[in-house]
Symmetry: C2
Subunit: 326 residues, 2 copies
């Protein structure tokens, strides 16, 4: 085994905690520490030492890859270019519409500094994106369908909790079984938003709130629920805590197409995740291994999962991969 | 659109025919012709011109990538190193145990000549291999399961046809539903060969053959059937021609593992193929696009799917991929 890859974690929420756990399972990596904007004394890690963000200046020679675990809205647009100017980084930037602009900012910083950056790793964007590219590259005459769930959506859960009369709640995105069956059969249906997914809400009412009014406010909410068939189930605070604390998610990318004189071909990639943040974290850690190798090979600048040879994700050598897994 | 990629096909069986059809659906590629050891006058292509193998010497400047469509047993071990010394090539070498030796021979020829070679493309080896690497890289604490089928196995069909008293027949490999369900559930079972797949044979008896003796000879055949639960169904020559002429195949690669303090995570990649050779051909064509770009970028020598950045498979630019598919 060669020298371990030295990893730093920036930000310590669910994702950062997942990265710490994933590094514990990676024999070729050492965790240098967690870097946080909070008071390190208040950050309860699994085992790692916690440091103030400013302390990163002292670690320039002790960290091979920084894994950025902040949010896409406020943290990563600032942190990723700033840190790419000093470190090789991986992030999970997931605001699809702003990816080109984020890529450009990180690429400029990274090229100037001779570091390597991998943006938008995770499962969507990430593994699902890869399978969209594989799908349309292998079956140019075809259609790609992405279904999400059954899974807890953080954004939709937050939207529920902002409704008057709601004391707590979660939302699950559920792919429609009929739609999935139709796609798998090779029918290549045209599906509306409403036909693809349903939304299931579990809501704790505030004292004295009117259930019907709350239900109506949720199901008619534009952008979030109005375009979907949404169910609202009222539960107690105890049930919410007991039955809805996990963060499962997943989904499918299905490419359905034809070859030759009309043979139907279907490719399906599916994830069933007991913990969404821990799986995302596992992807970030595997890509940290890849960017470390890419940087050593002189491949500087920003990259995405599309630019990374899959063998670089594995701790095994190319010879071993060919002999054991090809 | 830049200059089309000029492709030559070497060998024209089911796979070569599938490659020809796949190139028809690839707008960035032109098919230069089919090169064959048969008399070109006897080769009925879909549309391409057919030439004697020896004519390849005249095409050194007119072909960007040769796609080798011969067999792994006798053709590719000879042709791939020989042609890699003159052309950038893609092959579908699928004798798993001999891949390291094939890689070394092709790599030496290709490096000496400054060409690029991609060996063992297809779906297994190929897309399934990629998913085995992704699976264990993302979930190091886990198990990988590969199931094949339901699909027609050429090797097992040939074995049936060699049995005394058999006038014709086909064999389907079928994944066991119980085994697949157990793996999908995250149980990480230990499965014997017999538990993973069953084998279904459809056999036409020769005149006067003893059905019981034929059945017994098949189900007890070492290596091919003895380790499996095998069913033999006798059918007429008409039924064989009518119901068993297609070449469907497929299967799954499932990685099941845990993260953090025990969350179960499952990744599943599945193929349902109406035509096995046409899908393999589609993979070869997409990788021909990739090796052409790799050669232009100076990446010479032998490679496998593990070494190819997925974005290189797509006719779209990196900017387009990031904006549309990430």
């Amino acid at each position: 085994m060669s020298t371990p890859i030295r990893i730093g974690i920036v930000g310590y929420g669910n994702l950062g905690r997942g990265v710490e756990a994933a590094i514990e399972r990676s024999e070729d990596m050492d965790l240098v520490g967690v870097f946080t904007r909070r008071d390190p004394a208040d950050v309860l890690t699994r085992a790692a030492s916690a440091h103030r963000m400013e302390a990163l200046a002292d670690y320039a020679n002790d960290v091979d890859v920084l894994i950025l675990c902040g949010g896409s809205k406020n943290d990563l647009p600032v942190q990723a270019p700033e840190l790419a100017a000093r470190f090789t980084i991986v992030d999970s930037f997931d605001t699809h519409a702003r990816i080109p602009e984020h890529f450009a900012a990180v690429d400029a910083a990274s090229r100037a500094a001779g570091t390597t950056a991998l943006i938008s790793a995770g499962w969507d964007p990430g593994m699902f994106s890869l399978n969209r590219v594989f799908g349309e590259s292998l079956l140019p005459d075809g259609d790609t369908y992405t279904f999400w769930g059954r899974g807890l959506s953080q954004g939709h859960s937050d939207a529920i909790r902002r409704v008057d009369g709601v004391a707590g709640g979660v939302q699950y995105t559920v792919p429609s079984a009929d739609a999935v069956a139709s796609v798998r059969s090779g029918e290549r249906p045209t599906l509306t938003t409403r036909q693809k997914h349903t939304r299931e809400c579990f809501v704790v009412l505030a004292d004295g709130a009117d259930a019907d009014a709350v239900r109506e406010a949720i199901v008619s909410m534009p952008d979030y629920f109005a375009d979907y068939d949404t169910t609202v189930t009222f539960i107690s605070a105890e049930e919410l805590a007991r039955d809805h604390a996990a963060m499962p998610h997943g989904g499918f990318v299905i490419r359905s197409g034809v070859t030759g004189d009309g043979a139907t071909q279907t490719i399906e990639y599916g994830l069933t995740l007991g913990s969404n943040p821990e799986f995302t974290a596992s992807v970030l850690v595997a890509y940290a291994r890849a960017v470390h190798r890419m940087n050593a090979a002189g491949q500087i600048g920003a990259h995405t999962v599309f630019d990374v040879a899959p063998g670089l994700l594995s701790p095994k050598s190319p010879e071993q991969l060919r002999a054991e897994l090809l």
